[in-house]
Amino acid sequence: MTTEAIETPVATKPRPPSRAREVIHRHSGVVRLTHWINVLVVSLLLMSGLQIFNAHPMLYWGSYGANFDHAWLAALARSTPTGLHGGLRIGGVVLDTNGVIGVSPGPGGQTLVRGFPTWATLPSWQDLATGRRWHFFLAWILVLNGLVYLLAGALNGHFRRDLAPTRRELSPRSLLASVVDHIRLRHPTGEAAKRYNILQKLAYVGVVFVLLPGMVVTGLAMSPGVDAFAPWLTTVLGGRASARSIHFICANLIVLFVIVHVVEVFLAGVVNEVGSMITGRYVLPREHGQ
């Protein structure tokens, strides 16, 4: 990362150096571009994915799974004296998700029996064919965008320099210290803010190298065409029904990551953080006590 000190424009006399805003070049053009493409593409993949999920809102383990088989997860619409009531069964536990999962209001306020609600799916109405068309179109973009990002990051040293955790960072002591920092909402300042902290590195590595490729691989493992070419892939994942379950779980973990990511962006300073992902320039937070 190149460092450039930008003096705050002052009319009369120079300020002491501690008051200077230090601006670093944080994100490369490739990272910025692929990041924002991903924001759009992953959001729409999620929503079109929920549309596809809604066509059969149940998940199974193994090679097969259909209505007569045991589902480990199922959206429910149960009849009650007051009408249909939505729920989500996970294993043996039934969660009350009425209004969101299982049963939710339609655009005219009518009651819809639906896995995920209209506001969460693409398109908003039930239309598997259109949802699939969106999903596979977006999946191609995700793959191409991901390849550009991975190739650039591997070639220009970004992964090695900025994402790879060091041995010292991975020590229990340093991990614990970072966890405590996060819990206390303390964000690194000065020199330390030039690098990603260890939990941040692990989260990015997890998403970039495990979850997103995992989405592509588990998605392909559900394809009967790919299965004929590489049956070992589906077998390794535990079968097609399992691949679908893992696909869904990975998608949820990505949502969880995005929530934490966005919360952290707000905590660390939304203008500076979002700005750095747009322009590349990041104003280093001042040392504590200044």
């Binding site: 596979f136 009967p224 004929a228 590489a230």
Partner: protein
């Protein structure tokens, strides 16, 4: 300054929410726009081309062992064609049923169920993958489509094999709602592409497509036409139905259902 940041912050949150709302509205509009949908649907060609490249060596779809068969093979779509013609055939245990094979062929034929059963049979335990996301494993026995095509000698200009079915899935009451499907010769000549008359060692149940259904194992469930009455060899698909090559294709689904 902190006030300014706070208001900027609020502005950004409000902006994000507003932007998301606009995005959803926009995507719904794009979902209704035929030209946009056609454009993004072109990636289906890319998917087909990539998969066909991977499948050049014509590998077999995974076959399972008898212990891995689903306890119940879920019937989907039509489970009981209600036309008088079909009901009469069913009442007579399909003894009067004939499979008509015609179109761009040298020798059109009509085959009875017994004639099909007298041909060399193939049994395979495969997984049926529904477009909705569920799967079921079943054991199918039938005659390879390639053998039937051999009988009729397709003309060189024949490109697709079309399956005309007895079920009126759209419930229109006329021929426009009858199920049909089509595959090309890449899949038609594949060893696992069979016309199945048995499921799990028993005559094919009506709910699963009696007396004869297609198995084209490297594609999704909607390609596996049930209640096959007539096989037609054609050089183009745009003159059948609404022109997309199948019942569900005419209703927005991809013709190539390998994913």
């Amino acid at each position: 300054m902190s006030r300014l940041i706070l208001s900027r912050r609020r502005l950004m949150s409000a902006g994000t929410v507003g932007l998301a709302g606009l995005m959803l509205e926009g995507c719904d509009r794009l979902s209704h726009a035929p030209r946009f949908q056609n454009a993004i649907g072109r990636t289906e060609d890319l998917t087909k081309a990539s998969q066909r490249l991977l499948l050049t060596g014509q590998p077999l779809a995974k076959e399972f062992s008898a212990t891995q068969i689903s306890p119940v093979f879920k019937p989907n779509g039509s489970v009981m064609p209600d036309s008088d013609a079909y009901q009469e055939l069913m009442a007579n245990n399909f003894a009067d049923w004939r499979l008509v094979v015609e179109g761009l062929v040298r020798r059109p034929v009509q085959l009875s169920l017994d004639q099909l059963k007298a041909m060399p049979a193939r049994t395979q335990i495969t997984r049926h993958d529904c477009v909705e996301g569920w799967s079921a494993v079943g054991q199918w026995t039938g005659v390879q489509l390639a053998r039937v095509l051999n009988l009729v000698s397709p003309l060189p200009q024949a490109r697709y094999v079309v399956f005309r079915c007895a079920d009126d899935l759209a419930n229109t009451g006329d021929a426009s709602g009858l199920y049909y499907e089509s595959i090309d010769f890449f899949d038609a000549l594949h060893p696992q592409t069979i016309l199945a008359y048995e499921l799990n060692g028993k005559p094919l149940p009506v709910a699963n497509g009696a007396p004869l259904r297609l198995r084209v194992e490297r594609q999704l469930g909607y390609k596996q036409a049930k209640y096959v009455m007539r096989i037609q060899l054609v050089d183009r698909l745009d003159q059948l139905g609404r022109g997309k090559g199948g019942f569900w294709e005419d209703r927005g689904y991809a013709w190539y259902a390998g994913i």
